[in-house]
Symmetry: C2
Subunit: 635 residues, 2 copies
Amino acid sequence: MRRSIATVSLSGTLREKLEAIAAARFDGIELFENDFTHFTGSARDLGRMAQDLGLGIDLFQPFRDFEAMPEALFRKSLDRAERKFDLMQEMGAQLMLCCSNTSPAVIDDPDLAAAQLYELAERAARRNLRVGFEALAWGRVTNLYGQAWDIVRRANHPHLGLILDSFHTLSLRDDPSAIADIPGDKIFFLQMADAPWMQLDVLHWARHHRNFPGQGQLPVVPFLQRVLEAGYSGPLSLEIFNDVFRGTPNRRIAVDAMRSLLHLESEVRKLREAAAPGTPAAAPLQVELFSPPAAPELEGFSFLEFAAQGESAADLGRWLGQMGFERVGRHRSKAVDLYRQGGVNLIVNAQPGSVASQRFEAHGPSVCAWGLRTGSPLAAVNRATAMCSQRYDGPIGPSEMHVPAIVVPGGNLNYFVPAALGEMGLFEADFELAPVPEQPAVADLQHIDHLGLGLALDQRDTWVLFSRAVLGLETGDSVNIADPFGLVRNQAVFNAARSVRLVLNVSDSQRTRTARDARQQGGAAVQHIAFACADLVSTVRRLRERGVAFVPVSPNYYDDLPTRLDIEPALLQSLREAGILYDASADGAYLHIYTERFDGRFFFEFVQRIGGYDGQGGFNASARMVAQVDDPVGH
Amino acid sequence: MRRSIATVSLSGTLREKLEAIAAARFDGIELFENDFTHFTGSARDLGRMAQDLGLGIDLFQPFRDFEAMPEALFRKSLDRAERKFDLMQEMGAQLMLCCSNTSPAVIDDPDLAAAQLYELAERAARRNLRVGFEALAWGRVTNLYGQAWDIVRRANHPHLGLILDSFHTLSLRDDPSAIADIPGDKIFFLQMADAPWMQLDVLHWARHHRNFPGQGQLPVVPFLQRVLEAGYSGPLSLEIFNDVFRGTPNRRIAVDAMRSLLHLESEVRKLREAAAPGTPAAAPLQVELFSPPAAPELEGFSFLEFAAQGESAADLGRWLGQMGFERVGRHRSKAVDLYRQGGVNLIVNAQPGSVASQRFEAHGPSVCAWGLRTGSPLAAVNRATAMCSQRYDGPIGPSEMHVPAIVVPGGNLNYFVPAALGEMGLFEADFELAPVPEQPAVADLQHIDHLGLGLALDQRDTWVLFSRAVLGLETGDSVNIADPFGLVRNQAVFNAARSVRLVLNVSDSQRTRTARDARQQGGAAVQHIAFACADLVSTVRRLRERGVAFVPVSPNYYDDLPTRLDIEPALLQSLREAGILYDASADGAYLHIYTERFDGRFFFEFVQRIGGYDGQGGFNASARMVAQVDDPVGH
């Protein structure tokens, strides 16, 4: 499909916006007129600039408060339209968006609306231009696409068509099914927008909180299906009013925008391929949909990699040892150590000149990479690059294995490790492995349960879309957690089997630990790594015996717990003695405990899931946040 | 009145919160239980800590989902209550807040609710504790104070009373009049909260966007009047859930909180004093209301003061000269120059060791003070200090005048200049004045029309309350302006005569000019100074002849203008030639133009108001913001 985006969706000056849009490989733009009003060049200059960048001006928007007006206002609006047509011809735009009237002067008369739009289309036709009519969700009389289509049909002018916008339809919970019955060539343009569900007035919601398809909660995929079933063959375009995007560097947002459309197309294609032959969902389309490799089937974490050098690498090794990790190997060609316990592999990378060392120089000791096991790593990387992620190829030593990797938002590396290698195959190839000493279980770890990421506010939507489009993950509910310096919003992304979970944390406040960690590490920091254990109470007993320091939990917490949740007195007592936190849902329970932070940076969590508990103990995170107030910032 | 505040209203750990609350001179706290759950000390420790700080624990809150439940749940909740009563006795809290039930299990039966609350009160009474019942705005059955009062009345237990919260009543647009008829001694506690009007679901609105009385738009003053008319004599308390406050240093927020209550009391007192004797509004109360000096009657700007030294002071002097300001005097004892044109006095303060020089060292050339003319400067300063502002007394040289001053939020000084001195009296006393040369008018200035302030996000509510409580100003509408790097929210505060206007600007984005200026200058920066002229077109002509550089306006702006606003072609043509911006309302019009920035910092605006136009040309500010993209920040 031809792909387009409205200039209002990005930050920057008009020139910068166009450059970012072109760099993200869009075919065209919707010109949001306010961007032109303050542009220093002329309409002709703009047209030339767009052309030089290989961009068409697919839509000129918005033309407001036109249809169904008293005669005098109608005449005045026609003059106004002629001025806009002048501009469109100069800049080379052929389609104008006319959105439904919000003026108190509008008359509730579809025939009048049709007659006036007919005249507008007639004026446009004289110049070989076209007009598309769109129902705004807050239009005073016309706010549903069905009404707008009725008016367009009555007007019956070849230069007048319908413009659809997923937000305006889905925000009102209007049914998009009937779109499939509209003649495709009468749909002149399609704007796609997603949004989180909010109980907010629709105008405010629309102007501040839309986001790209795949970042929100609206059913955008079936919406696009219906439009394509109608036979639509025009551009697929994004018109996003979002306060955060307005303040985010436009190059990243433009890439997110493109990823969003590619993902959307591929999701529709997937549904079509699964549809029964002969059904409307399988009928041929007028457009070609993007066809990337399938999202990978992930089978869990293969390893996690820390960047650390010199003393900090030695300290980290000692800390891991205290928690029962054994140093079981050294890389054949690099200053890289492998630590292992149960099913968990941790790598400490101290190799000079590596990506890890760059990360260490920039951010100090930190997580710099992780590996995910999957059946076909190359397909996973190809999926990722098709979805606008960067591939990473590091230097490979003699007889070492090449493991494909990508760069995740914020700069960490995500390796895709062949599942066929099993838990240790990768390390047998690349590491000199020492025989593992027989010894009693210490922490008795099963696997990495989840990673907790601290994200800058403007990385949240980027990460949600990356998780869905590149890694094929689903999103969980959003939970608010009270940090002493602001609320933290917490949302998990995970695969269906729950063998890979990432927990995304953001806060509006700049002063929370989450915001500060994200800032210190370029917008996305792994704040903590959670290990799954079979029997947390005994694991914690053994770790405490070895001197591991955990975040203290207030006795008040345990006094309060039985007033909030049903819990056996004996279990409560053992949690209290061990300093373990507890949560429960209808499906099961969650026991967990946090270590102190390593060097004021990341920390570990040990968890035990019982039954079908599917969260991460959100409420309890406050216990840690209060205890971690160790570097106050002038509060 | 006794003054109290809920711990949830402030950021920080529980100890830090209590210290900030005590420092702001509150009498007591409401303990928000979550703050205690993660507190490392015991209930007894907390009680001691509060006592040491001179604070009572006036309320323990919240106790949820209690009344009108099936028997088994009711019994369980009684056990839960006993555990909370244990805590209350240990910490020394005598009143518990029980808020109306939000559980799906609640039964719609006021008699059952009354019976169960009776039992709860009976349990409380055995320990000499009390229970207050409050209607949550989102309570499942009970959400109006009238319903809650009906239940309390039915229960008829001396240890059970009503708790009122202005937010829960006013957010539902419920009528508070009937509160006056409730027996005052049955109202056990009063929580006051304000909020901006939002079309958002009430739970989300309540949990994230409340603010202190005087910062929002709810009719909190008449609400408090009704409660006092009922004969209420308990604490006046604040319970504010606000995402920004949670991330703001708690000392400042605690001072805002106290200022809010003092202002609220004084507003009620003012209404009572104006009420006709014999009416309920004039009947004696059970409490004493705060009685500060009246807010000052302001008569306009006397002067504006810049901090600048060395080359930057000389550059600034030359720049002012180019715009037609004459250097008319030098301070008798300080390195301070006076520039004047028409009715505008500008001071350039280069005095070493002064507050201005501290400001210059910290922030470079910038506005550091202004003077407002008023009939009684001392009363104005006394009003300000009564309302928790700091007084400033600088060094005074021989035979110089003492001008009382206060520190405004963010650190600038606000002088109150005796109106009796006239325009020049102050300067005749303190300055060696040179004879003003006869010369033709250059910019032909009348007065300072307004100051534009860039505020950090967390300074907005602080400034609104300061403007209302200390300076006696009113607030205008909030307008969104598109900066290329984010939306800027713009709101004016002004006196009734409009001789003093301040325009407050904030943005959520960290990357707008507004946010960056605020950050660079400690949270509140004067970004621009607007001068009123009688004939802007000729003023601009003369200024351009003298080489003054203005922000360029796109020709597209003038092409668009007549499609948005009715404007005479001749006026449009002269605006286009002069590069002047235009706005109009039903009451008049506004012509204005911005200079380039001085040293990348502040700039001037020249304005002409026609008729009753009462805004500041909000939409046009985008023209300037686009043109001022001179130091991009990695977009």
